[in-house]
Symmetry: C2
Subunit: 221 residues, 2 copies
């Protein structure tokens, strides 16, 4: 069994890779430079791919940042330190649709059985493309978009964290032997991968470790 696993270098996607490996998949991991503020996450992704025995790790440069519209890709928009109402400015327009479409292209060429993505919709930032209904809709696209599907062999879309809160995800990682210290979640980590401790991603992660009763191994600035 073969899978393409979207790997950002954060906690969720690393846990997703650990789950895919535990289920016996040979994993082809995919990380994307899409104009995000720092490279620390992508450096982390490389380490995680090696540590978890990915069969192959690829990085793509995708021109998503040039459309702007997000604090993660437009230096003129500040990363907020307080979660407010609604969808935060760290939302990147159509990001998961774009990432999944590249994963689909690779999965078809590899004749992979599944694509894994680490979205979750419990302790999350309210991004529309992390919701179960979005995942179901993209699964339908996958069932129609490729040559494979015409012959009847659809590629499955797996989102094993979709119903889990952050504490559950962290405990799951501990059970699977994942070294969380390798992962970087911060939206504005420094070039050594140290987290700011104050952005939305840091807050959700820190609260997750506290709720899970697991010591937080994150290196903060």
């Amino acid at each position: 069994m073969r899978a393409v696993v979207l790997l950002s270098g954060g906690l969720d996607s690393a846990t997703t890779l650990a789950i895919a490996r535990q289920r016996g998949f040979s994993c082809h991991t995919l990380s994307c430079h899409y104009g995000q503020r720092h490279e620390a996450e992508l450096t982390a992704a490389r380490s995680v791919a090696v540590a978890l025995g990915a069969a192959e790790h690829r990085e793509l440069e995708i021109p998503l940042g040039q459309f702007g519209g997000s604090a993660l890709t437009d230096p003129a928009i500040a990363v907020p330190e307080q979660g407010g109402a609604g969808i935060p400015v760290t939302y990147v327009p159509a990001r998961n649709t774009v990432l999944l479409s590249f994963a689909l292209a690779w999965a078809e060429v590899l004749a992979a059985d599944a694509i894994f993505i680490g979205v979750n919709a419990i302790d999350y930032s309210g991004y529309p493309d992390c919701r179960p209904e979005f995942i179901a809709a993209f699964q339908r696209v996958m069932a129609l978009a490729t040559k494979r599907t015409v012959a009847g062999g659809a590629i499955r879309l797996e989102a094993p964290l979709i119903g889990l809160g952050k504490a559950d995800i962290i405990r799951r990682g501990v059970d699977l032997g994942l070294d969380h210290a390798m992962t970087v979640s911060c939206y504005r980590a420094d070039d050594r991968g140290r987290a700011c401790g104050r952005c939305d991603a840091c807050r959700l992660r820190r609260e997750g470790f506290a709720a899970a009763g697991v010591a937080d191994p994150t290196r903060y600035v």
Copy 2:
């Protein structure tokens, strides 16, 4: 009204742009370098965008070719001269899914009302991602993937050629004043945009002009 129009430089997408303009949309055209064999189509797209009064034309470099798996992106796979049974080797894995995902990102940032794509499923090459059911599935993704859709304002996906044969598309272009000579459909046009006259795309185009009773303005090698 504002629209993002996917513009390859071929006959179908140029006709689609003409239709969107006639319907009163301010059109933002998007062309992608995805590793295809020649640049003539993209050069044609630029001319078509200007001639049809696009508000803005953008070109993206997208790393789709590096997965291979298609005669259009892998020099080791020959472009066939005879249509055979099944989906031809010119099919590019997940191409329309990838193109639509970038169009979606841009449409969200532009606050566009619609995305136009020139797919059609009558006189076509059998690509799975040109079928009406694929378009419907991607429309569903668009209705769930973005910040806009959470607020209730979905972006529409328009495929105005979906039910038309090639001759109808050509007649429609004539009615709209489109100069077909500007467009390049050939899979392996030379660097001056002259068509081979023998590939599947050339065959469908040539037959379309004949069936439409319109003189074929294509420049062949």
